[in-house]
Symmetry: C2
Subunit: 338 residues, 2 copies
């Protein structure tokens, strides 16, 4: 077990390294933090911390930098979440309050998060399956072509084109629309499959094919992989990453283009509370030198989606976590109001 002072030394190393981006030595440490001991003592502590794998030297006779394991300990034990200041809170609220629809909310959230953390922001749209059905609409665009529109209580709207096996009259369409809504409106999307299972049975034989087609399109829309959407922003902040650009930045940009990767990343994060994945803790190789801070957000107590930021492992964890948490909270409020 590490002594209290050694933990303080680790904390000081992390703080200084995050600030300066340069390996930190024993002398500089004692100068900037009043640890009450001499550099020599700190050196001994550093050696111990290095033995335990919390810090490392880039090369002999250089200062130390934290390892992923060191950051992990820092985040878990040594650092709190830095709360936003009152003006910051007001700014967040004002900025988000101006949004006119869900797309706008998400877009503003991404911008805000990127700006506050000076990192890359990722915001997932409210998941369909965790939302409630507000309305299902069917529009006849052509005799055998129907547009299916799903509207959630969070304001999300998804549409899908359906090519029907047979022409489908306006009357039948109205009938289907009414029956469908009476069954699912106000219910959770996750329950929809069960709720509409036997719906085709109530229709004339000639319409059943079309009804089934519409329903299967509806169910497809709810399949996990299809329904998730997200928005990213603040990629310009990647330029603040480090000195050895091309190699560091490229895989990150590639990861960001692969929505699947990002969704997995957010998905892996715990469902409640904030999750911090540091360096190699991220399964995706390209993100091995980044950390991901994410948290669920939702209108009520329950999370409907996640948002977070991607930044260098060398990031200001308390500040970033504070910003992420605050933004998630306000987004939840906005969604609840709409």
């Amino acid at each position: 077990m590490l002594s209290e002072r050694r933990l303080q030394v680790l904390r000081a190393i992390v703080q200084d390294y995050v600030g300066t981006e340069e390996p930190v030595g024993s002398k500089a440490l004692t100068e900037r933090h009043n640890l009450g001991v001499s550099p020599a003592t700190v050196r001994n502590d550093m050696a111990a911390l290095e033995d335990e794998g919390f810090i490392a030297q880039p090369h002999t006779s250089a200062g130390r930098i934290p390892t992923d394991k060191g950051y992990r300990l820092f985040v878990d034990k040594l650092a709190g979440v830095k709360p936003m200041t009152a003006p910051e809170r007001r700014a967040i609220q004002n900025f988000l309050d101006g949004a006119v629809d869900l797309d706008d909310v998400v877009a503003r959230t991404v911008r805000l998060l990127a700006q506050l953390t000076r990192q890359v922001a990722v915001v997932q749209y409210p998941s369909l399956t965790r939302s409630t059905v507000r309305h299902v609409e069917l529009l006849s665009l052509a005799p055998a072509r129907v547009m299916l529109v799903l509207i959630t209580d969070t304001g999300r709207v998804e549409q899908r084109m359906v090519d029907c096996p047979a022409p489908f009259g306006e009357a039948s369409l109205a009938d289907l629309r009414a029956r469908l809504n009476s069954r699912v409106a106000g219910r959770r999307f996750a329950d929809v499959p069960r709720l509409v299972e036997d719906l085709p049975e109530g229709f004339d034989v000639e319409d059943r094919g079309t009804v089934s087609t519409v329903l299967s399109t509806l169910l497809e829309t709810l399949v996990e992989e299809n329904e998730e959407r997200l928005m990213i922003g603040g990629t310009a902040n990647l330029t603040r990453f480090g000195h050895d650009f091309p190699l560091t930045i490229r895989p990150v940009l590639e990861a960001l283009e692969e929505q699947v990767v990002l969704l997995k990343l957010l998905g892996e994060a715990g469902d409640s509370g904030m999750t911090v994945r540091i360096g190699h803790e991220n399964a995706y190789e390209g993100l091995n030198s980044t950390s991901v801070v994410s948290v669920g957000y939702g209108s009520g107590g329950e999370a409907v989606a996640k948002l977070g930021v991607v930044g260098p492992t060398r990031m200001d964890y308390p500040g970033t976590m504070g910003a992420v948490r605050a933004v998630a909270r306000y987004v939840g409020q906005i969604l609840a109001e709409s």
Copy 2:
């Protein structure tokens, strides 16, 4: 006026520089291209080209690199558009044919373009105002809340929430829906304002306020700045930009995040035919060291939107132009089919 050979020298310089990314000297030129003259002669030609401002030296006793003006001449007079090979065409078609809806078409187009050109791709959604109305739908979500859904012939769907000044009955809503569609369905969005001008007059006094509100939301949706959407991709290709990263790449990433900037950029491009904007020809400062190749695409003869790529001024113009043109053509076909 420049002699034929001098133009050939310029062409050779551009080609070599694009290939090697290094200033090209007279000796290397004569070795790689059989110009039929000696290096000394080429040197004289180069001096002339430099006097005219087509090429420049980074420093004395270094090779030459093309200036923006040089690239301009190259694109205008010296280079054709390199057509895609048959296998490439097939690949494009196959890839785009798999799309299931407009979002998918746009997403695939972005990916494709980024991959083919190895640059950043930008694709604008079909402009509303240049499209035709397929259907306008009104949904009652709450007594005084209506959702307006616009559907274009290109498959684009836009929705807007409308808060009504007074409760609006289902019957009135159906009435408005019917009258609205009978006026605008099949007409161009650009004509919609004129076509619905006097629509409120046909309604009861108590409904007129709501009808006006709905209509004004509809018109707002059509305002240039609101209605344009675009998608970008291939930002990972920015890492191939040059050696002096952070400075070059940052403003480009910033520009890409500002949709307004990009829309302006595409908007400035000529309406028909392909447009190439080289370096300082781009009004936006951050893009002064990039070139933008863009072209309109559309289902018929007329362009409904634009797509293009953003890359370093040192790019393979013929190849890029070929890819952009080919992709635009196939996207047009896909849209026409849907």
